[in-house]
Symmetry: C2
DNA sequence: ATGAAAGCGCTAACAC
DNA sequence: GTGTTAGCGCTTTCAT
């Protein structure tokens, strides 16, 4: 197996090819292609023409190795299939757009081990920064993040200790606030319905805050129901039926996310249940997706777009605070009572 | 600004550090870390221990440059926010999982220019393959794909000429099939409702196929309605109201996707319209998400998971066909009549 | 089973 | 404004 000669048509083009085709040194070609340094207009034109004609695509691997600079930002999130992270991604992309930085997404499926290996893989490309969901990671992940020597932003949650910076909301507080609103509206027999996700720490914290506020009012959950897998809308419907059948005196259903909440809402409406008179409902996330439902589900916005935006600003070094790392930025979700909490 | 000395604690670790810490040559350390070649168990242990202790993360940039091998697969899709591409991603990730290849996602927002720049950016990292949605690209993109010298798989659609391989369904045929089913069920005053997306070629082809089949039956659309932006569910509701108000004799609503179809369905049900007796409805995609709706919307599955799986197999070189590139693999969606087409 | 030397394709730093 | 030189941190190849 001999090495292909310089004329092998299957070989990918190098700076040198553009240099030869344009009669300009590699260095100057490099300058033109990166818009760096002074290059005369005639030279620039000749180079660009040659590069275009040949169809040259620079090799960022070599460039990155030589310059010790990589324009990649690692973004590590649990899932892409639930509306919330895509919106965070949008915030990140929008902000990074004009910084020359590029997000690279890794998905962990809520598995800490998978997160660890995705992180390892991504760090091995020496990105300029890491945006990672949550504050809970394996010890090894924590160590890698701490060692990486680049800005790290942990997003979505601020109830805990970040490695570096954090941007998010307090889910514990969010749960508390929702409980308070529900209690204030006069509901007393409250059930929780969630997806079974041992590693969804944010849902867990919301539930903790929720129960804490119930306890303070001398109440406790009369029911809990967990499911996993399948269509969230359908699961919400099924769980709701199960809960209401088992426990007809339940007067409020608190869901861990809007999709299962919507399923529950559709179930209640189809059964002719008076919402929010007889039974109230609330979800979490404020997903715009659901705006077309017959009734607007009570929910709390998770500030997804804003979280993505701020995280990206920190990585890009253009966040208002100006400080270098170590900041915790708390965002404050608004409670939308919609049509499913009375009062 | 002097260059940090070898002892700078902020410098990221190199093979050399592991080599010194373990007293083993860089070359052997490299062998251990890549599981290549024969290394004695004692040496291997010493190296792994040192690497772990230091928290060494290999530099893939240097590795890729030296080996001319990159374990990345570029995946270029229009959007992450509509259920369909996340599912394709799942198919891709699942299949790539045990090949050592890693997907890297780029999002184009249905803009050909953005697609071109995302593609350029990704190719500059010299990936092992490209999976890209659609068959329509700018001339420059076409040229880059053709020149890249790596496997290219265009996905979702097969109505056109692929650069290399293609995996998808015929959207024209899908539109035709749906029209035939609708006509067979006796509907005659048919309206189309879609999102306004000049660059959504697949929706366009479905509509073309649909109208073609209508024409063959001596029919034509009595209404068309396009919207853009906002919550799909809400838009579907609004568009449906507009269409039915303007044209009360309409007896079938064909939507370009399931989400707006679901909005329309909810609208019809809330208005007490007899579905599918008085009015029938159909969407497209077969999104599982909607399974909890009061009635099951007629739709066609777009084979999303399977498309992702097959595309990844082709890139990984383990597709059944065994051929090297240039294959067009057509998948066949099944029409699910659900509860919204009579008969 | 292990090591030494030569690059991968580019850019930083310096000359001219 | 343009060219030259010396690496970036690894892996390939070949020697031992």
């Amino acid at each position: 197996m001999s090495k292909p000669p310089i004329s092998d048509p299957r070989r990918t083009l190098t700076l040198r090819d553009v240099s030869e085709a344009s009669g300009v040194s590699e260095m100057t070609v490099s300058r033109v292609l990166r818009n760096r340094g002074d290059v005369s207009d005639t030279t620039r034109e000749r180079v660009l023409e040659a590069a275009r004609r040949l169809g040259y695509v620079p090799n960022k691997i070599a460039g990155a190795l030589a310059s010790q600079r990589v324009n990649l930002v690692a973004v590590i999130i649990p899932s892409l299939s639930n509306m919330v992270f895509p919106e965070v991604m949008t915030g990140i992309s929008d902000t990074l757009e004009d910084t020359g930085l590029q997000p690279v997404v890794g998905v962990t499926n809520y598995s800490p081990d998978r997160e660890e290996s995705v992180l390892y893989e991504m760090l091995s490309w020496r990105p300029s920064g890491v945006i990672i969901a949550g504050l809970e990671h394996t010890d090894a992940s924590q160590a890698m993040l701490a060692q990486a020597g680049i800005p790290i932003v942990e997003i979505m949650d601020i109830d805990g200790s970040p490695v570096d910076s954090a941007v998010g909301i307090s889910h514990r507080r969010a749960g508390r606030q929702m409980a308070e609103a529900i209690i204030a509206a006069g509901y007393r027999n409250i059930a929780f319905l969630g997806t079974m996700m041992p590693h969804d720490h944010r849902a867990r914290k919301r539930l903790e805050g929720f129960e804490e506020a119930l306890a303070k009012a001398g109440l406790s959950l009369v029911e809990r129901e967990f499911y996993s897998g399948g269509s969230a809308l359908l699961k919400g419907r099924e769980m709701t039926e199960a809960v209401l059948t088992r426990n007809p005196q339940v007067d409020f259903l608190y869901y861990s996310n809007d999709m299962i909440g919507a399923g529950g809402l559709l179930y209640c409406l189809s059964k002719g249940i008076d919402v929010p008179g007889q039974i109230g409902l609330a979800g979490f996330n404020g997903v715009e997706l659901l705006d077309g439902l017959p009734r607007k589900l009570a929910t709390m916005d998770a500030c997804r777009l804003e979280i993505g935006r701020v995280a990206a600003e920190i990585i890009a070094g253009k966040h208002a605070s100006g400080t270098i790392g170590g900041e915790v930025i708390e965002l404050f979700p608004t409670l939308q009572k919609g049509d499913t909490i009375r009062g």
